[in-house]
Amino acid sequence: MAPSAEGEGVAAVWFDGTSPIAKRVTAAAAADGLRIDGQGASRRFAYADLKLIAYGRDEVRLGLRAEPDARLLISAVDAAAIARFAPRLFDRGQARARAGLQMAGLAAAGCGLIALLFIGAPMAAPPLAQATPRTVEAQMGENLAAQVNLVYGACSGPAAEAAAEALAATISRLAAAADPGFPVTVSFVLEDSPNALALPGGGVIITQGLLETLTGPDELTAVLAHEMGHVAARDGMTALYRTLGLGVMLDVLTGGSGIAQQAMVAAGQLADLSHTRAQEARADDYALAALAAAGEDPAALARAFRALQAWEGGDDGPGSPEASDGRLALPEWLSSHPDLDARIARAEAQARPPAAARPPQPDWAVLQQACADTPARRLPPPQ
C-alpha cells in the first residue's frame, strides 16, 4: 500500500556499495529527506544528496552523490507516491532536457568543426604554402617525384634525356620572362591520358599521352608555361596542405567510422574541386603573360586546350562513342578540370600578340619520342 502521510515507509532494497549483499529496508520520505532503516542499515539522506539513476517501468534506482557505488531500489509505484516530497529528484523530464542540451551542444560543435575543416583548412592552405621554406618544398617535391615515378613508370634512357634537353632552352626563356621561384625540371611518364602535373619544388611531369595528343611544340610550350604558373603560385604545396589537412583531420575525427565518413569525403571532394578551378584560371593567366613576354605564341594555349578537347570527345577519350554508353556528362561544378570551352574562350580572348620575334622551337620529333626507350608496362597504373 502506498503511504499517504509523511513518515510512513515503503519497502526498498539498499546496496551500500561496499558489499553485494542486498539489504531489505524501509524507506520513509519526509519533507527534509529520505530515511532508510533495516537489516543493520540506518541512514538519512537529504534529497540533494540523491540522484536519479534510472526510472524503469517496474523499478526506480537512486544513487548517492557522495558514494557513487551505493544504490537504493524502490518499486515504481512506491516511487510515484513519495515523488511528491522531492519532485525534482524524480523528474525524468529534467534528465531528458539535459541530454537534449548535450546533443545540441555536440551538434553545434560538429557544425563548428565542419566549418573549420571545409572553410578553414582550404583558407589556411595558401598562407601555409607561402610560409613553407623553399628548401623544404624542394625536398618534398623530390620525394613525391620518386613516389610518382614508382607508381607511374618514369620514362628514362637517352630518348627521355634528349627530350628534356630539347625543352631546356624554352624553360629558361619562360623562367626569365616570369620567375617561377624554383628551378623547373621536366620528366616524362608512361601514361596514356594527356596530363601535366606540377609538383612542389618545380618538378613538372608530362605524360606520354599529352605528347601524343598535342599537335606541335608551341602547344607543349604553352602547357609548360601553365604548369610553371602552378609552380610560381606554389599550388602543389597548397594542394598538399589542403588535402593532407582535410584528410588527416577527417580521419582522426571520425575514427574511421563508415557511413558518416563517406558523406564527409564526398562533401570534402566538392570543396576541393572549386579551389582547383581558381588555381587553374590563375595559372592560365600566368601562362599567357609568360608566353607573350618570352616571345612565344600565347594563342598556343587555346590550341592546346582544343587538342585536349578533341581527345576527350574523340576515339580514345572518355567522350568516345564506345565509352560513352551509360556515361553521363558531368556538370561543370563537379569536374575538376572546368569545361574546356570556357578556358578556350578565355585564353583566346586574353591572348596578345608576342612581344618579340619567335624564338626557335624545340624539335617536336625528339619530344614525341621521349618514352621510346622505356618498355611499356604490362599492367595499367592504379586509377
Binding site: V13, F15, D16, G17, T18, S19, P20, I21, A22, K23, R24, Q39, I53, A54, G56, R61, P68, D69, A70, R71, Q102, M103, L106, A107, A109, G110, C111, L113, I114, Q139, M140, N143, L144, A146, Q147, L150, L244, V248, D251, V252, L253, T254, G255, G256, S257, G258, I259, A260, Q261, A263, M264, E322, A323, D325, G326, R327, L379, P380
Partner: protein
C-alpha cells in the same frame, strides 16, 4: 522477487528486444552526421546502458556506469598522444625520407600498430569492466595492457609461422590472461587453462575451418580466373567490367556464407571451452551454445543489417550478446559474503586508443 540471501544464483536472464534497439540504432546513427560522428561516444554509452540493464544476473540487473564524456576525453587523449604523432611521423617519412627508408619506417610503424591494437583491446576491456556494476559492486580487470599487447603480439607471430594453426591456442591463452585477472569486486575469477580442462572439439573443428577456408579461397581464385578478372586492361567496356565485378562479389558472398557454416562449429566449440574454464567463488560457468545457434544468428543478423540499410547494427550486436548470455549455464551459487568492493576504480577516462582502432568489438 528479490532474495536478500547471502548465496545467489548467477543465472542470466536477457530480455532485450529488437524493436527498441532498432530505434536506438536509427536515431543515434542520424545524429552522427551533424556532429561529424562525435556523437558516437554517447550512442555507444546509451547502447551499453540499455543492454546492461536488460541483462539480469540472479534476478538483479547489471548497470553500466560509464559516460559518453569519458569516452570522448579518452579519444582526445589518444588522438593527441598517439594518433597525431603517428600521422605526423608517416607524413614526415613520406615527404622527407628517401624511399627505402620510408618503407623501413612504414614497416616498423606497422608492427607497432599491431601491438597497439592488442593494447587497445585490453584497455577497452578494462574500462568496460570498471564501468560494469552488479549489486553495487564493480567488476575489475587487472594486469598490464603493455604486457598483454606484447604477449598477444608474440602469439600472433607464432600463429603466422604455423600458418594459422596456433590460432586456437592463442585465443585460449589470451582468454586465460584476461579472465585470470578479472574480478568481481575483490573476488577473482579463475580460469582453468589446463589441457585436462580442454574437453571441447577445438582441434577437429579448427581443422574443418582451416581446410574449408583454404578450399573456398581456392574456389574463389579459380573462379576469378575463369570470369576473367585478372585480365586487367583486357576490355575497357564498363558494363562488362561491372558484370564481372558483380559476379565476383556475388560469389564472394556465397562463399562467405559457406565459410560461416564451416567456422560455426569451431566458434561454438571455442566459446563453450572458454566458458567452462571460468569459475568464480563456488560457481562454475559453462555454455550450451550450439553451432546451429551461431549459424542462425549469423544469417539472420546479415539479413537484419541489410534490410535495415545498416541501422540495424546495434540490434544485431544485441542479438549476439543476447544469444551468448541466454546460453550460459551456471552451476552453484555465489557466496556474496566473500565479495567486497573493488579497491581500484579503473581508468578515469575511456579507452581512447581502443576507439581509434574500434576495438570494443562493437559493444
Amino acid at each position: 522477487m528479490r532474495a536478500a540471501a547471502d548465496r545467489v544464483s548467477l543465472a542470466i536472464e536477457q530480455t532485450s528486444k529488437i524493436g527498441p534497439m532498432l530505434w536506438l540504432g536509427v536515431w543515434t546513427s542520424l545524429l552522427l552526421l551533424p556532429t561529424l560522428t562525435l556523437f558516437r561516444f554517447w550512442s555507444r554509452t546509451l547502447f551499453r546502458r540499455k543492454l546492461w540493464e536488460e541483462t539480469k544476473i540472479g534476478g538483479e540487473p547489471l548497470e553500466y556506469i560509464g559516460k559518453g564524456s569519458e569516452l570522448f576525453i579518452g579519444f582526445l587523449i589518444a588522438t593527441f598522444t598517439v594518433g597525431l604523432p603517428v600521422v605526423a611521423i608517416f607524413i614526415f617519412a613520406q615527404l622527407f625520407l628517401p624511399l627505402p627508408l620510408y618503407f623501413v619506417v612504414g614497416a616498423i610503424a606497422y608492427l607497432v600498430l599491431i601491438w597497439l591494437i592488442y593494447v587497445a583491446y585490453f584497455l577497452a576491456r578494462r574500462y568496460l569492466m570498471s564501468r560494469t556494476m552488479w549489486r553495487g559492486v564493480r567488476l575489475h580487470q587487472g594486469g598490464s595492457a603493455m604486457s598483454f599487447g606484447l604477449a598477444a603480439f608474440g602469439y600472433l607471430l607464432l600463429t603466422i609461422i604455423t600458418l594459422g594453426w596456433y590460432a586456437p591456442i592463442m585465443r585460449l591463452r589470451l582468454a586465460e590472461r584476461l579472465w585470470g585477472q578479472t574480478s568481481f569486486g575483490d573476488l577473482k575469477f579463475t580460469y582453468d587453462g589446463s589441457k585436462e580442462a580442454r574437453t571441447e572439439p577445438v582441434w577437429a573443428s579448427f581443422a574443418l575451418a582451416w581446410f574449408g577456408g583454404l578450399a573456398l579461397v581456392g574456389v574463389l581464385s579459380a573462379a576469378s580466373f575463369a570470369i576473367g578478372l585478372t585480365d586487367v586492361g583486357a576490355a575497357d567496356d564498363p558494363a562488362a567490367m561491372l558484370a564481372r565485378v558483380g559476379a565476383f562479389y556475388g560469389l564472394a558472398l556465397l562463399l562467405g556464407l559457406a565459410y560461416l557454416l564451416m567456422a560455426a562449429w569451431h566458434e561454438a566449440a571455442m566459446l563453450r571451452q572458454i566458458a567452462k574454464s571460468i569459475r568464480i567463488g563456488d560457481v562454475r560457468l559453462g555454455s550450451r551454445l550450439k553451432h546451429w545457434d551461431l549459424i542462425g544468428l549469423g544469417l539472420t543478423n546479415i539479413l537484419l543489417v541489410i534490410l535495415t540499410l545498416g541501422f540495424g547494427g546495434l540490434a544485431a550486436l544485441m542479438r549476439v550478446w543476447r544469444l551468448i548470455a541466454q546460453r550460459i549455464e551456471t552451476d552453484g551459487d555465489l557466496d556474496l559474503t566473500r565479495v567486497g568492493q573493488a579497491a581500484d576504480r579503473g581508468p578515469s577516462q575511456g579507452e581512447g586508443l581502443a576507439d581509434a582502432f574500434d576495438m570494443s568489438g562493437g559493444f
